[in-house]
Symmetry: C2
Subunit: 315 residues, 2 copies
DNA sequence: CTGTTAGCGCTTTCAC
DNA sequence: GTGAAAGCGCTAACAG
């Protein structure tokens, strides 16, 4: 008991015994069991972070943001990948629940509303990133993807482009849908017509971007610009242009999304729609902590604004 | 008790009660508390993974390898970053210990032998990545960095280069030391002299690579090739060459290390020394599991071999 | 085949 | 200021 008081710095203790206890602790290298403590306090000092793929630079930066504030606040974070696999997403959420995490940050969930509600029904603290909430008890942080697509599209139109293709991302992804939507409404707002043939579905990886961009350019040589679902697909598009003998940006301008580090180092450097990935993570963790510490408080719904980074691929 | 038996599929149970119990479990959405279980079994089903920086593509891929096998085996992994900060490294190791992880994978530790021993003295299962072990109870997986530097250097020499610069990595890092060593011994083995002025210390990030490469090329225009501590610094070197009006590979050949995805997409694509990052992680996790399940078994010390990926930056 | 007892290492509560 | 008792949710060992 006295040891407990020393460790937690709680209650009155004489300076002499405190010292004596502390010395013994140091000598033995004693570490209090956070799991035994958790059993009684119902707090584990752990949170779960679920992402699609930690090897994707977007998520690995988000994870850094999460872990940095977790570390500062004395929390440890479980990192789980889902690979866009629904069964795996459900499984990791369950395993995290069994570990009695104090809260969960779930990025880009691919579950539908019902499955999501079911998977999270026992959690009291949840922050959803890049996904709107099916119930109001969840905090959310979403990117303003529609706005991002808008400023990207406007930028190209202002540069004189009239035939702008679009490499669209996964249908199940909120970002995927919203970026196409922003593209379409902006075109129409500017008096241009939306042409479904200029839009192609594409996996969010370089290889797919290259393949689909190649096909798109081949079928529609009239295109003078391409907006790509993310920077990886945009890099693929750059390759496709090179392969097809089309110069970037002179023949075809290319715009990406995310502003991952890679974007600045390819040739030509990518014009891209930046989202603050690290801040996304750190904000999510802060929001989660707020909920963990006071689960009565209303949940925030933050919308993060994009910024167009203009580089040589679409000046 | 009967519930426990159903959940763990242990002992004899009549089919009827098993069903009845299972139904109630499903209905209630009951999840056994892994932490209460841990208190009695002394197994938490968690492991710690400590890296320098998860936003570095090298580590984020290692982490994927670790997490994938952890997931397959029913483990969850705590991800911690150290930022090369010794105090933080010690702190996370301690917090992981308090969480009673079943084992720890420690990548690129910056602690000296004594601190490392102290920080890990209560752990029974440890795998060190990219670091030799101060005590034989630790498993290790190290890259054969010296060999990597050797094949990179030989490749350049065979291509006719005689004046080869070197952007060296952090002094505290095993890789940093070994890569320089391999470069030096290979030069000498080939009858060339090692010139300390051609070697410059450099941080393992693009900006530093660019800055140091620029200075090096400026001071030593006689250099016709550069080996860089990793791909990030190599990308910086490419920039420096472009800025200085030196064409790659015609005027200066550039070689990197790691073969991160970026390496393939820059212009020109990087010749680089590949290490199997994902496998590094998955092997480390397998090794750790072996030790967790039988801590009596002798510890392996694996050396991972590099492979030179020849691309346009140094054909 | 099922239930009872005890204890994992801590904190909460209350007694001294 | 310090200690004793009880209990968190589970499983190991044993009893019925």
């Amino acid at each position: 008991m006295t040891v407990s008081r020393v460790i937690n710095n709680k209650g009155e203790i004489s300076e002499t015994t405190r010292k004596r206890v502390q010395e013994t602790i140091d000598q033995l290298g004693y570490r209090p069991s956070s799991i035994a403590r958790g059993l009684v306090t119902d707090r584990t000092g752990t949170v779960g972070l679920v992402v699609i793929d930690n090897a994707n630079p977007f998520f690995s930066e988000v994870a850094r943001g999460v872990e940095d504030v977790a570390y500062a606040e004395g929390y440890n974070v479980f990192l789980c990948n889902t690979e866009e696999d629904i069964a795996r997403e459900i499984a990791v959420l369950q395993s995290l629940e069994e570990k009695r995490v104090d809260g969960v940050i779930l990025c880009s969930s691919r579950l539908d509303d019902d499955d999501l509600k079911a998977a999270l029904r026992h959690y009291s603290a949840v922050v959803l990133v890049n996904r709107t909430a099916p119930v109001e008890q969840f905090g959310t942080i979403v990117l303003d993807d529609e706005k991002g697509a808008q400023i990207a599209t406007e930028h190209l139109i202002q540069s004189g482009h009239r035939a702008i293709g679009f490499l669209a991302g996964p249908r199940r992804s909120r970002s995927g849908q919203m970026r196409v939507k922003g593209y379409r409404t902006t075109l129409e707002a500017c008096g241009l017509t939306y042409n479904a043939e200029w839009v192609r579905q594409c996996l969010p990886v370089v290889e797919s971007g290259q393949e689909i961009a190649q096909a798109l350019l081949n079928d529609h040589p009239e295109l003078t610009a391409m907006i790509c679902h993310n920077d990886l697909t945009a890099v693929g598009a750059l390759q496709a242009c090179t392969d097809a003998g089309r110069r970037v940006p002179d023949d075809v301008a290319v715009v990406g999304f995310d502003n991952i580090p890679l974007a600045a180092w390819v040739t030509p450097p990518l014009t891209t729609c930046d989202f603050p990935k690290y801040q996304l993570g750190s904000q999510a963790m802060q929001m989660l902590l707020a909920r963990i510490n006071d689960c009565s408080q209303g949940c925030e719904n933050i919308v993060v604004q994009p910024e167009l980074i203009v580089r040589a691929s679409a000046p």
